[in-house]
């Protein structure tokens, strides 16, 4: 196999033309979750009911659900953007962590700037560091021919430990396992909205996320640059023949993907927690991002919708645990099953092809 063939193959898988695949995948995923709950001796209907009650129960819960959606939207955009250029960005996790760390350091260390300068500066720093981390994988791919999947996995772990090291040595709050709280002037929380939403942690992240969603569309479908990126994604060989600089476009797409993921990390720190903890393992947002992008067919609207779905599932799992005592892992199982069904479209096609064929035959008869 040549590299190019694989890229071609991937873009075919990821650019889902069929709206039925994601919908059937969601239904099958929820059914699988129900079966697993039934095996564990839980009442699945009750549990799903509890999930939705939790999410739409109060203003606070709605606000917190939006907070859960935000990083998923960013990592989904990140993974989706790279997919469009034919690259599998499994490294959104590491890029997000680097974005967090960048934001934490700039947010804690600089203490003399007013909000209007400091906050945007912190956001941009975090975004750029995330972008550089993505570009690193892009560079290894375009100049060194390193498969981006492998390099991204390695970079995820390196990012985790590098970030732990930086927090521990640069901004550690003495006696704890977390960084100092960021300066008030770097905060991206929206105080009045939080008060309105019964103290849910509201921040500018979702607004920027929506802007990024539109940017995703504009860059890819309304600019020459985006055309080149998509051309590389569809067929790098053809793109090269028509004079497009393929390595440069791979680098760019990974850089932009990294910036999206980095922003996700930035708002986790500046908007939600206001500090970063030293952790033994990553929160796994990057892997959820793969699920989001895949289910959303790498289209901005699809990504937005699927990030909402996964955000609702993730936040609601706490409610399932509380009122139906179902372990929260069930939601990870559902999410895993959904990506599984989207990835192995063959399974779904086996299910719906017979129906489609019959409909097609009828249409022909009518004509």
């Amino acid at each position: 196999m040549s590299d190019n063939q694989s890229v071609k193959k991937w873009s075919r898988i990821f650019v889902a033309n069929n709206i039925w695949v994601p919908i059937i995948a969601i239904v099958l995923g929820l059914i699988c979750g129900a079966i697993v709950m039934w095996i564990g001796g839980f009442n699945a209907m009750e549990a799903y009911q509890a999930l939705f009650d939790k999410v739409f129960g109060s203003k606070y819960d709605i606000g917190e659900t939006i907070r859960t959606i935000t990083p998923l939207l960013f990592t989904g955009l990140s993974v989706g953007f790279a997919f469009r250029a034919g690259l599998f960005n499994i490294g959104a996790d590491g890029q997000l962590i680097m974005g967090m760390t960048g934001a934490t350091i700039v947010g804690v260390k600089i203490d003399f700037l007013p909000w209007i300068v400091h906050a945007p500066l912190t956001v941009i720093c975090g975004m750029l560091i995330g972008g550089l981390w993505g570009a690193l994988a892009g560079y290894l791919k375009s100049s060194r021919g390193v498969n981006e999947v492998i390099s991204c996995i390695m970079l995820n772990w390196i990012a985790l430990y590098l970030s732990n090291y930086l927090i521990r040595t640069v901004v550690l709050k003495p006696g704890t396992q977390r960084s100092e709280t960021i300066q008030e002037s770097a905060s991206m929380s929206i105080g009045w909205l939080s008060t309105f939403m019964d103290n849910a942690r509201m921040d500018w992240g979702i607004v920027i996320g929506l802007i990024c969603t539109s940017l995703f569309y504009i860059i890819l479908w309304r600019t020459k640059q985006g055309y080149e990126l998509r051309a590389v994604g569809f067929n790098p060989e053809a793109a090269r023949f028509s004079g497009i600089n393929v390595p440069k476009n791979m680098l760019k797409s990974m850089m932009i993907a990294g910036m999206f993921a980095g922003l996700g990390g930035v708002f986790e720190v500046l908007g939600v927690f206001h500090y970063q903890v030293i952790s033994a393992a990553s929160a796994g947002y990057g892997f959820d991002g793969i699920a989001v992008a895949l289910l959303g067919g790498n289209h901005p609207v699809g990504i937005l919708l699927s990030s909402i779905l996964f955000g609702v599932l993730t936040y609601g799992s706490a409610g399932m645990n509380f009122s139906a005592s179902v372990p929260t892992e069930i939601v990870r199982i559902v999410i895993g099953c959904i990506i599984f069904f989207v990835a192995s479209q063959g399974l779904i096609q086996m299910l719906y092809k017979p129906f489609m064929a019959r409909r097609e035959a009828k249409r022909k008869e009518a004509a």
Partner: protein, 321 residues
């Protein structure tokens, strides 16, 4: 001669850590040699650790005594194989994307095992501590060799199996028709197909061997180092194994060297904790080392750049031959 003892002990614990990595990395190797990219190693090892811990728990309660951990290993293999069949069916038969299915296996394995542990143990996040785990078993005579005996021949049975696994795999891969066919399917499935090798069958075999070995690897962790199963039991070992496989350049002997090296990094972490001066060492860099080195090797910064089996990552489609 204190330092010699220290080195012997360090080598000994290095091999304990290396065991799981050898199984994991060799698992990855068989799969990738047959042309299936196996990111799901972590998940398969998690499955193995879970199966081993649960089966051992029930076996020891049923009074099977010292046989229990061996029943555990068989259960670990079964769980590993279960996940490998998922990978094989979707990627080989349905031609789904191998990297994505690998990610799915990692997500599903961790979630399902933890879910089942919580269901079985009434909401607790880990199994009870196992009593009947594998015991260190000194080889008669050989373990009496000064230092060397302590370093190599006074360890867990799984470690001995891991020692043996390397030459057996090397023989199997490079000296038998089976190995030649397995490798050819991973390098150029089209050519292999034209000379009558059943590509689908060999890929299934490769992936299933991968599941068996990764399952044993996970079981080895649960039954030797941790003595229970929780979400931290495997925590990244599958990825280190993946890194070791690449660092070892898809070759059994290379894998032995790489896993020993990465196992040493892990053992060293626990080893230097005993000393006061270790507080000044940034431990994070030691954690980072396997991944960093793998990247450097891949990028060609250390030695010449390496490429894996040529067809790994791509589903075989006879119509494109």
């Amino acid at each position: 001669m204190d330092w010699l003892n220290d080195i012997a002990n360090l080598t000994n614990s290095t091999f304990v850590f290396t065991t799981a990595l050898i199984f994991g990395a060799m698992g990855g190797l068989f799969s990738e040699r047959s042309g299936v990219f196996n990111i799901g190693l972590e998940g398969m090892m998690t499955g193995g650790a879970f199966g081993a811990a649960i089966a051992t728990y029930y076996a020891e309660n049923a009074g099977y005594g010292w046989v229990s951990p061996w029943i555990g290993i068989l259960a670990g293999i079964a769980c590993g194989v279960l996940f490998s069949l998922l990978l094989a069916y979707t990627t080989v038969t349905l031609k789904a994307n191998q990297a994505i299915v690998g990610v799915v296996i990692n997500i599903l394995a961790v979630a399902i095992t933890l879910y089942l542990v919580k269901v079985i143990f009434d909401g607790a996040g880990d199994t009870e501590t196992l009593k009947e785990v594998l015991k260190k078993w000194p080889v008669p005579l050989l373990s009496d060799i000064p230092f060397l005996g302590q370093a190599l021949f006074n360890t867990y049975p799984t470690t001995y199996i891991a020692y043996l696994l390397i030459p057996i795999s090397a023989y199997l891969l490079y000296k038998t028709p089976f190995g030649l066919r397995l490798r050819s399917v991973g390098e150029h499935p089209g050519a292999a197909d034209t000379v009558g090798i059943n590509v689908i069958k060999y890929r299934y075999i490769g992936v299933i061997i991968s599941g068996v070995l990764a399952g044993i690897g996970g079981a080895a962790i649960a039954l030797t180092t941790t003595s229970n199963f929780s979400h931290t039991t495997v925590s990244g070992q599958g990825f280190i194994a993946l890194a070791a496989m690449i660092f070892g350049r898809w070759n059994p002997w290379g894998v032995l060297g790489a896993t020993f090296f990465f196992g040493m990094a892990q053992a060293l972490r626990n080893f230097v904790k005993l000393y006061d001066w270790s507080k000044d060492i940034p431990m994070e860099f030691l954690y980072m080392l396997p991944y960093l080195l793998t990247l450097l090797v891949l990028a060609g910064a250390v030695g010449k750049g390496v490429k894996g089996p040529a067809a790994a990552g791509e589903a075989y489609d006879p119509s494109k031959r």
